[in-house]
């Protein structure tokens, strides 16, 4: 099992697996199979895949601990960067077909429509994370600071879900489904942090009593 997660080929295979949704969209575009509203189809598909990859990325830490699979860490950066890849495509479908590449018009729209404001914020939050995803940047920032910075993925995921929730008119099942997943993954972290603090405290308390007895 361990050999599977540490194999170079697993990583290569995962890379191509992450590209399958993109390949599917390219294939559909070339075959004119994007339905009656191709722009909307691409916007929805790339938005969905952004949220999914954010959720996959947020799954890594809990899964490592719950299933005792520390080697999963090898895939976290790739999944995060694929979330960024899909959000860039998502943003381009908005900047191009919706805003005709007019930046001034885009800013007005970002300021005016709340669901765009919150979605755009999530996108902006992900940019520094993608830039500082390299080993060099981890070194330069130091592990602690790097980790602090990269916690903004929590906000990006939450804003992404709100963006979706505010977009839909009435049937909120899908945004709530994503919201529940993000909620579970964030609550697990909160629980993990709380549990760790509690389990650490008695250890410190116990130490002197042992020495007294000794």
């Amino acid at each position: 099992m361990r050999a599977f997660f540490t194999s170079k080929w697993t990583k290569v295979a995962l890379f191509f697996l992450c590209l399958v949704p993109f390949a599917g969209l390219v294939w559909r575009s070339l075959h004119g199979d994007l339905g009656a509203n191709p722009v909307e189809f691409l916007q929805h598909a790339t938005g969905d895949w952004t949220l999914r990859f954010l959720i996959f990325t947020l799954c890594i830490t809990p899964f490592r601990k719950l299933f005792k699979l520390p080697d999963l860490i090898r895939f976290r950066r790739m999944l995060g960067l694929f979330a960024f890849f899909y959000v860039c495509l998502h943003f381009l479908t908005y900047l191009g077909p919706d805003q005709q590449f007019d930046l001034a018009g885009m800013w007005k729209d970002v300021a005016k429509r709340p669901f765009i404001t919150v979605g755009f914020t999530a996108f902006v939050l992900l940019i520094p994370l993608a830039i500082t995803s390299t080993a060099g940047w981890i070194r330069r920032l130091g592990g602690k600071r790097w980790q602090m910075l990269h916690r903004s993925i929590y906000f990006a995921a939450v804003f992404g879900v709100i963006h979706y929730y505010w977009l839909v008119k009435s049937d909120v099942r899908k945004p709530l489904f994503y919201g529940a997943l993000v909620g579970i993954l964030l609550l697990w972290r909160l629980g993990d942090w709380f549990f760790k603090r509690r389990s650490q405290a008695p250890v410190r308390m116990a130490a002197p009593s042992i020495s007294v007895n000794g």
Binding site: V20, P21, G24, L25, W27, R28, D33, G35, A36, N37, P38, V39, E40, A45, D48, W49, R52, P97, D98, Q100, D109, K112, R113, P114, F115, W166, L167, K169, S170, D171, V172, R173, F177
Partner: protein, 320 residues
């Protein structure tokens, strides 16, 4: 004028034979369950284009209408596979799949309220109220997309004249068919059904207001509001109520479905207005299906000459 009588038509001729691939059953059969369902389904849907066939009856002897636009019509495929008909599901592709077995025969429309001659119409009777015309209208959705459709029908005023509204009638209330058994998806929509809509009497009597029984030379496909619906081209699409079973002439402004669901977003009038934005949608522009970039939206969807005078002196931003 080429005003010929519509051919004899019986709605029992319309059989909903359908062959289509139920993707959800397919996915279930593939055993994709649990946490991977969302991702897995996305992958599979990319590989499986939707396939539906539609049964319809040809309508002949249609008169041309001076109210028609000469703009390029959207394809029948687009207009039948990109629908907001939330009783049959909230995804645009849902109604084409879920309305296939919708039972539209026998069908009666009850016309009641402040009228001298309340009565029920069978579909066969409705088809004979007035000569059928083809009207090629622009249709603008509040979601900022638009289509051009060759509808078939006649002005609603023809029906109104038969039942003779009394002077007390100020508004017209419409009600769609609803059956939770035939429309199981409706419960997820977040809307209260049956779907209700309404117009001021003068709006309903405007020649543009079409009582519609067909499109593209045929009876209406189920997902487009069979067997009879309204088409109000100067208003956002949700005002054009589908699958009508009841029409009431009433004294005061009737409740309307989307307005009840979200009053600030969807007003009673809901005239197409590029200067009155919705929080989700910029109404200044629209995407015509089949086009990449957006085009400017016209006041009253380009029908100002026919309808603007009805709203003289009204603040259309307040009465959105």
């Amino acid at each position: 004028m080429l005003l010929r009588k519509a051919q004899e038509l019986t709605y029992s001729d319309v059989t909903a034979k359908s062959v289509y691939l139920d993707r959800r059953k397919f996915l279930r059969a593939m055993g994709i369950v649990g946490a991977t369902a969302a991702a897995g389904r996305g992958l599979f849907e990319m590989a499986l284009p939707s396939q539906t066939t539609i049964a319809a009856t040809k309508l002949t002897g249609l008169a041309k209408s001076p109210l028609s636009t000469s703009e390029k019509q959207n394809s029948y495929q687009d207009v039948t596979h990109y629908n907001n008909f939330w009783e049959f599901g909230t995804d645009k592709s849902d109604p084409a799949k879920n309305a296939q077995n919708f039972k539209i025969s026998p069908w009666t429309v009850s016309v009641e309220g402040e009228v001298a001659k309340p009565r029920k119409f069978t579909m066969d009777e409705i088809m004979k109220i007035a000569p059928l015309e083809e009207r090629i209208y622009r249709h603008r959705c509040v979601e900022a997309w638009s289509i051009v459709v060759p509808w078939i029908g006649f002005s609603f005023s023809n029906l109104a004249k038969l039942v003779q509204p009394t002077p007390k009638a100020q508004f017209v209330a419409f009600e769609s068919f609803f059956d939770p058994i035939q429309m199981p998806e409706a419960k997820y929509s977040g809307l209260d059904f049956p779907y209700v809509e309404g117009l001021r009497l003068d709006e309903a009597m405007n020649p543009l207001a079409l009582l519609c029984v067909g499109m593209y030379g045929e009876t209406l496909p189920n997902q487009d509001g069979a067997p009879v619906r309204m088409v109000l081209p100067w208003k956002y699409g949700f005002k054009s109520v589908k699958s009508i079973v009841k029409i009431r002439f009433v004294r005061s402004q009737p409740p309307t479905t989307w307005n009840m669901a979200n009053p600030p977003a969807y007003g009673f009038y809901s005239n197409v207005n590029p200067t009155a934005d919705n929080l989700r949608y910029t109404q200044a522009q629209e995407r015509r299906l089949g086009e990449i970039f957006r085009r400017p939206t016209l006041m009253f969807n380009g029908y100002a000459d026919q309808v603007a005078s009805m709203y003289n002196g009204m603040d259309l931003k307040k009465n959105y």
